[in-house]
Symmetry: C2
Subunit: 307 residues, 2 copies
Amino acid sequence: MSIVVVGSVAFDGLKTPYGVREKVLGGAATYFSLSASYFTDVRVVGVVGDDFLPEHEAVMNQRGVDTRGIQRAEGKTFFWKGEYGDNVNEAKTLRTDLNVFATFQPQLPPEYLNSDYLFLANIDPVLQMKVCDSMPNAKLVGGDTMNYWIHDHRASLGEMLRRVDVLLINDGETKMLAGDNSLPRAARKVLELGPKALVVKHGEYGATIFFRDGEFAGGHHPFRAPALPLDEVRDPTGAGDSFAGGFMGHIASQDEVTREVLKHAMFYGSVMGSFAVERFGTERLQSLTREEIDERFNTFRELTHLS
Amino acid sequence: MSIVVVGSVAFDGLKTPYGVREKVLGGAATYFSLSASYFTDVRVVGVVGDDFLPEHEAVMNQRGVDTRGIQRAEGKTFFWKGEYGDNVNEAKTLRTDLNVFATFQPQLPPEYLNSDYLFLANIDPVLQMKVCDSMPNAKLVGGDTMNYWIHDHRASLGEMLRRVDVLLINDGETKMLAGDNSLPRAARKVLELGPKALVVKHGEYGATIFFRDGEFAGGHHPFRAPALPLDEVRDPTGAGDSFAGGFMGHIASQDEVTREVLKHAMFYGSVMGSFAVERFGTERLQSLTREEIDERFNTFRELTHLS
């Protein structure tokens, strides 16, 4: 089955303790697409400027990603520049040039509309809603957001949350959205806002999925996937979007969305996140094999499972 | 099999978002003893003052803990007063009165010396070493320490680390001890200092055990146990010592110390930590049943295991 992802396609300037990159391919939709491409057909919707060259698009096409939904606009592509210190969980934003992304109006090519799965990467919730409404028959909608929308665009975010089946955010965003400093309590409050499941990403400590009571045929117990204790996190950029790509990609590759499928998806999300951070930008996600993915999946199992 | 624990027996003054307690039974050895008592015979070594009454000792005796190693000294018992805000992982120390603990010289009753297991709670590494040397035939020695010893008593701590089989500390202590901000790298450096295994406690995110290559018959893969996402952490005091009690207690209850035993011990550690924080002080650890423990063990399994 295929999945549509809507979000940023961008260039990033990166500085980490392991080096500097002036301008590499980035953006949430890019990381998501590459990651999900190992599991299912991916169709991407975004906007780029004049500086986005065929070689950049080819990175996605080489992984089989359908890029017909990438619009061209006059001007430059979204550019983000960030720096990471010793704490790889915290990016310091040095520069954000929205460029053509500032007036992005997602438009789904008609060929995309029969997709069963949709992922709304972190963009204006008003746009997320519009996309959502254009795919009313989607079997499952995943979504992301961030502090800015939680803090300053609460009303439209609330509308968007009623349309999203699975929300993927981090600890801080969950607590902010719920106004509660206890994570499990905050998670329950977020689930009352709409989503049937909430994936809370804990950075180097993995991620937890919380289920709304009665959804996905099971009890109320949450499920936690670990992150790999990696010696060297070269570039944390895109870890969350790569997680989302593995998570949604696995779901889209299965016949049904059961609780067990969601649990496995949590592991695949962690697996893809762990690969993404091993090298700068999308480098590692371009050259994986399904074998490497399954091998790491088993490593994650060994990391947490008792015999 | 029996286990000897050496450490503080104390009174705590506690303030958390859930309430205030002026003076309740506390101390690392106390939490450890009560926790481990559900798994094996426990013998405690510590020092108390005149204000330590029979009713306090009875709390341990009721759980079958051998308290013949608790020395009496003139003066008051160690008193610690702390406060927790919204972040339950961070205690703010309001007062520390070492009292009789300041001149503590651990002395093991002769009846204790045949124990196979030893846990050195967080005290001066010079004292930890002395105790260790008095039990040269111990099958496994576990130990704890803290920032103060790492920072200001490095030489004696180094000596102590060469005698400890399993060290249990938290993320910050591991990074500080290794002088490295990458946790997996820091863990490897700590293992080079002596211990065969290192348990790094991540607070609400669980704990990871790292193994020295070739030890406990297995590869180099670490193992992670989750923490339970608890709605209400009423009082985080003693969570780490309760973890250590469950961890060491389970080990001491088994015939051999295999890697699989250590993995299960990680889960039992997390289980006991999760109980400890549900109520103030040692209250919850006094009234558990083995059935409740096994039930929660299964909940932890469900929280992390794929079928």
